[in-house]
Every structure is written in C-alpha cells, then in structure tokens.
Symmetry: C2
Subunit: 163 residues, 2 copies
C-alpha cells in the first residue's frame, strides 16, 4: 500500500524543444564527451556513447548549482538518432536513482527533443528550480545543435539565487 | 475508482525563478494589464487586479502558439505581493479548467516566483512543450521585473516548430 502510494506520487519534469538541425547532431551532443560538455557542463569526463559507462559532470559554485557539486550518471541505453537514457548515480540527494531520458525525432527541418527527468519523489521548490533550469539547458542543447556553440555551465544562463 | 485514478494521474508543470527586484514588481506584473502584456502577450485585455474578472490574451500564429489563439483566464485569487491564482476558461482543450498559480516571496535581493500550471490530464508532448515555454515566459517575467522590458508574444523566444 505504501509502496503503491509512493509510486503514484512520483513526478516528472518534461520538456520539448526543436533544433533546426539534423537529429544526428542532437544525438552526437548526447553521446560524445565534447557534445555533453558543449551544452550541460564544460567539466565533463567519460564516454557517454557506451552503455554502462559512468560520466562525471562538475559544476562550480555559482554556475548551475549554488554549491560545488559533482554529478555522476550511468548510460542506460543509446539508440542511434532516437533515444538516450541515463541514470543518476551521484548528485543532489533528490536526483539519486532518477532517470534522464532524451527522445529524438525529425519533424521536417526540426530535430525534436523530448526530455524527461523522471521519478522525483517530491514536487517541491528544488524540483521547480530544476525544471526551469532543464528548460535553459534544453535551449543550450538546441543552440549547440544549430550553431555549434551552447551555453554549458559555468557560462549557463542564471535563473535565480539558486543559479 | 475511475475518478480516483484520474485524480492520481493529474500532473503539474512547476517552475522557480528569481528576479533581482522587490516582489511588488512581480506582483504588479501579474495584476496589471500593462504587467501581463509586458511578459506574456502584448495582446491582453481586462483587469487582472480584480478577483472574478476575465482576462483575454491573444496569440498570433507563429508566436507562442502555432495557430492563432485566444486564451481567457479568470482571476481566482490575489494576495498582495504573495499569491496570484488564475483559472483557464478558454484556450487549448488541454488547458480548460487548469490553474495557473504564482507564489511570490522575497529572499534577500531576489523576488522568487514559484509557478505552477496545475491539473493536466496527460503528460504528453503538448504538456512538455508548454513546460519549456512557461520557463521561457518566467524568464520574460524576471527580465521585465529587473529591466522594465520582457519578451512577451509575439516577440517571445521560440523553442521549436510549435513556437
């Protein structure tokens, strides 16, 4: 009963953006280290193209996060030009065990990305902050795919006192 | 049972931004017609400062929405410098009956806005689009409060083929 209740209360962050680009560009931005460093955090290490690999992202205090932070994600699945799934292994407590999912599709000249940060336990202020921040990073991904230059941390767009 | 199921499946869009401004500026941007026209849509009519009033927002095709659209919202509640709640009365079918909620608080020099678009029936592609678009409009509200100039439709930042 409690387990069922918890499952029902799980909440997701969802976004949808479209880059005027071939979807291979978005897929590459998600599965190469230069790619992820080009839109999420410049401080990135690992091989996001290989399932089972662990990728480390660093964020300076005052960039995407208020405190110095290390995120580690595990590559769960990659399907060329269609899908990338990551599991959060290290990061803010609220993030541990959540999934980051990117579905890619081509609609005319647009590479459409549907993004989900799935499995939050609490729809609180921190989730709301991360929801807005993910929109900003999805716009950074779009910009990277369209122009070759995104706005990854620490040059990410700041949204509040929580950065 | 079905009713219970539907209730459990309701999903919300949540965001959090902070404007370097006194929170009165954010409250004014939500409760005056010049305010709402300054960050959401230039084509706005009505008195958002009065509970029970109906406000009309127009969106040109190619701005915030792909098709020409009229939104009507009813002011449900206003609490000076703290809270604004609107109900969607006319707009996209998925929006009818949903609530738009803005909680405002001052944290040092930041006017913090917690935004919710509450009571979606389906966490689909359109909700994901609206989630990203709301983040863009929350950044427009922040910009308006900080500088006096936001980016309302039809000069809103476009995010995809759905605008």
């Amino acid at each position: 009963m409690n387990e069922q209740k918890e499952k029902n209360e799980m909440v997701d962050i969802l976004h949808r953006v479209g880059a005027v680009a071939p979807r291979e560009k978005v897929y590459d931005a998600l599965t190469t280290i230069e790619g992820v460093a080009g839109w999420w955090s410049k401080d990135a290490e690992g091989d996001p193209g290989t399932v089972g690999e662990m990728i480390r992202f660093g964020f300076e205090p005052g960039s995407a996060v208020a405190a110095d932070a290390t995120f580690r994600i595990k590559v769960l699945e990659t399907k060329r030009d269609e899908l990338v799934r990551w599991e959060v292994v290290e990061g803010p407590p609220e993030w541990i065990g959540t999934e980051l999912r990117f579905d890619i599709a081509q609609e005319d000249e647009y590479a459409i990305v549907r993004f989900g940060h799935l499995g939050w336990k609490e729809p609180g202020a921190f989730m709301a902050h991360c929801s807005t921040k993910w929109a900003i990073f999805m716009m950074s991904l779009k910009q990277l795919a369209e122009t070759g230059t995104g706005a990854p941390a620490p040059v990410d767009v700041q949204i509040s006192n929580w950065h």
